[in-house]
């Protein structure tokens, strides 16, 4: 992936937020105990995390990286941050403490975490940098009095174009001004997205002409093949993160690819175990409405699935290449499948979509047993009309036979 190949490795290679980068670099160079912490505020994808990583590297500091929404209570924060805050090496070398997503503390009782951070800022022997997406959250407002707030914004289009031209030059490409500008506007300030779009235009067959970079299926296939064929976990993670797709679809596509892959039984079991864990994660996320869990999905695949499939020749199973024949019927929105799924969903206290995509494939398989089929027909009220019952019974038998 070009977005990985051209990922900045030094502070001066970043684009956008020039004044913010300068202010923060100077803040760190002059930092001494008692100095305010730095609070980076800006929308996702503006380079806050990348900047902090490069800042620590530029100053030769060890980065202690914590995600604030994982450690919500004072006790947990104390455990994780306490040692890092008070420890300086024998030679006076400091660590940079990075608390990402501090706005993740908001929304629920933060159990003293914000007060703990405010106190820690005053006492820490090491500089603390925090990052947040939502500047208007109450917790950020509470923290801002003890922090120097610096805003991160997307780079202007001309700077994105400059970076794209640099990538194009590195790849030996000649891209027209108009085409390049269309990509810049399409990416809307997201540099990684702009690079991905550039790469997808160059990999597409020439005869497809302008607009070919909008081919979603190809991008999906590239991202999944990028994941399965990645050199390491980092590259695998980046490939999945570049993919704009609902988590349900992501898990489904990974599952289909794994099932179609022909992995040896042991590896297949391990891979499907991870897919199952991902499915449980999504279920938990939906049940609790806790969307922050979503960030673990890609990581779970990169950390647990990637080592299993690495070098095993797994490829993305295309959208039209379904592994389970029964799923063809489930996903093709046929009238009967919809009717059964609505009735089933009402009885099973689930949604029609969940019924279609998760439960019914198995329920249909069990319908090969006459007793089960008849019980199901009664339970779903399909036996109300004898003519309809006959038609449903034939349909269920056909599905079971698939």
């Amino acid at each position: 992936m070009w977005s990985e190949k051209y990922r900045p490795s030094r502070l001066d290679q970043l684009i956008g937020n020039e004044d913010a980068r300068l202010v923060l670099s100077l803040w760190l160079s002059k930092w001494k105990p008692g100095t305010k912490a730095a609070l980076l505020v800006g929308p996702p994808g503006t380079g806050k995390t990348t900047f902090v990583n490069l800042l620590a590297r530029a100053d030769g500091m060890n980065l202690v990286d914590l995600n604030a929404s994982d450690v919500r209570t004072k006790e947990k924060l104390q455990r994780r941050m306490g040692e890092a805050m008070s420890t300086v090496s024998l030679f006076g070398e400091r660590s940079l403490i990075f608390l990402d997503e501090v706005d993740g503390l908001a929304g629920r009782a933060d159990l003293g975490a914000v007060e703990f951070i405010k106190e820690s800022v005053k006492e820490s022997q090491n500089p603390i940098v925090m990052a947040a997406n939502d500047p208007d959250s109450d917790e950020i407002k509470k923290l801002s009095s003890s922090c120097m707030t610096v805003r991160f914004r997307p780079p202007p289009p001309r700077e994105v174009e400059m970076y794209l031209r640099e990538v194009a030059r590195g790849e030996g490409l000649a891209v027209g001004d108009e085409e390049l500008r269309a990509l810049v506007i399409e990416a809307a300030g997201d540099v990684r997205q702009a690079i991905n779009l550039l790469q997808s235009t160059q990999n597409a067959p020439r005869e497809e002409g302008r607009g070919r970079y909008k081919d979603k299926d190809r991008t999906v296939s590239e991202a999944f093949n990028g994941f399965f064929g990645a050199a390491d976990k980092g590259e695998a993670l980046a490939s999945l993160r570049d993919l704009s797709m609902s988590p349900f679809e992501k898990v489904r596509e990974v599952q289909r690819s794994v099932v179609k892959s022909g992995l040896p039984p042991g590896a297949m079991a391990k891979a499907l175990e991870t897919v199952s864990r991902a499915d449980l994660l999504i279920g938990k996320m939906m049940k609790a409405g806790d969307w922050r869990l979503l960030r673990y999905l890609d990581r779970l695949f990169a950390e647990e699935l990637f080592p299993v499939v690495k070098g095993m020749g797994v490829k993305y199973a295309g959208q039209d290449d379904l592994p389970f024949p029964v799923l063809v019927r489930v996903w093709n929105d046929s009238k009967k499948v919809r009717e059964v799924s609505v009735k089933y969903a009402a009885k099973a206290h689930t949604s029609g979509m969940s019924a279609r995509s998760q439960d019914l494939p198995y329920v249909f398989a069990l319908c090969s047993k006459k007793k089960f089929r008849e019980d199901l027909e009664r339970a779903l009220g399909l036996d109300a009309d004898p003519d309809l019952l006959q038609s449903y019974d034939r349909f269920l038998q056909k599905e079971a036979a698939r």
């Binding site: 290679q13 020039e18 202010v23 500047p135 805003r151 001309r158 700077e159 300030g189």
Partner: protein, 119 residues
């Protein structure tokens, strides 16, 4: 009729008297820098979108313009992205026509950061 005010992001500018409420919102809430001798300034800590909204609601129609990171000149005149670029939501510096992306200026752009950091 609203007064049209052209503001260079990162540069000092003056404002007519708009009342303590507007002043307080700009300086305390939206992080606009104020110094009695030089006036107001939008910097890296400013909530640009909020400040522009406050000024507009106070009857000051604002047109933002960015400066070139390499030479400091105004960057927006003649920019091909002028219509599509929301200057209140992008970062404060850009590139002028003399340092346009077509001229392979990335090396110069990166060096400017190092120079400013050392200077």
């Amino acid at each position: 009729m609203a007064e049209k005010k052209r503001i260079v992001v990162g540069g000092w500018f003056d404002l007519p008297r708009l009342g303590t409420e507007v002043f307080s919102a700009l300086v305390r809430k939206q992080g606009v820098v104020y110094e009695k001798s030089t006036g107001f300034k939008f910097d890296s800590g400013t909530d640009l979108q909020g400040a522009v909204r406050t000024l507009r609601s106070a009857g000051v129609d604002v047109e933002l313009t960015l400066r070139c990171w390499i030479c400091g000149k105004e960057a927006c005149p003649g920019c091909p992205y002028l219509q599509s670029c929301d200057r209140a939501s992008v970062s404060s510096f850009c590139l002028c026509a003399d340092h346009s992306p077509e001229k392979s200026v990335f090396g110069e752009y990166a060096r400017t950061f190092d120079v400013n950091l050392k200077g």
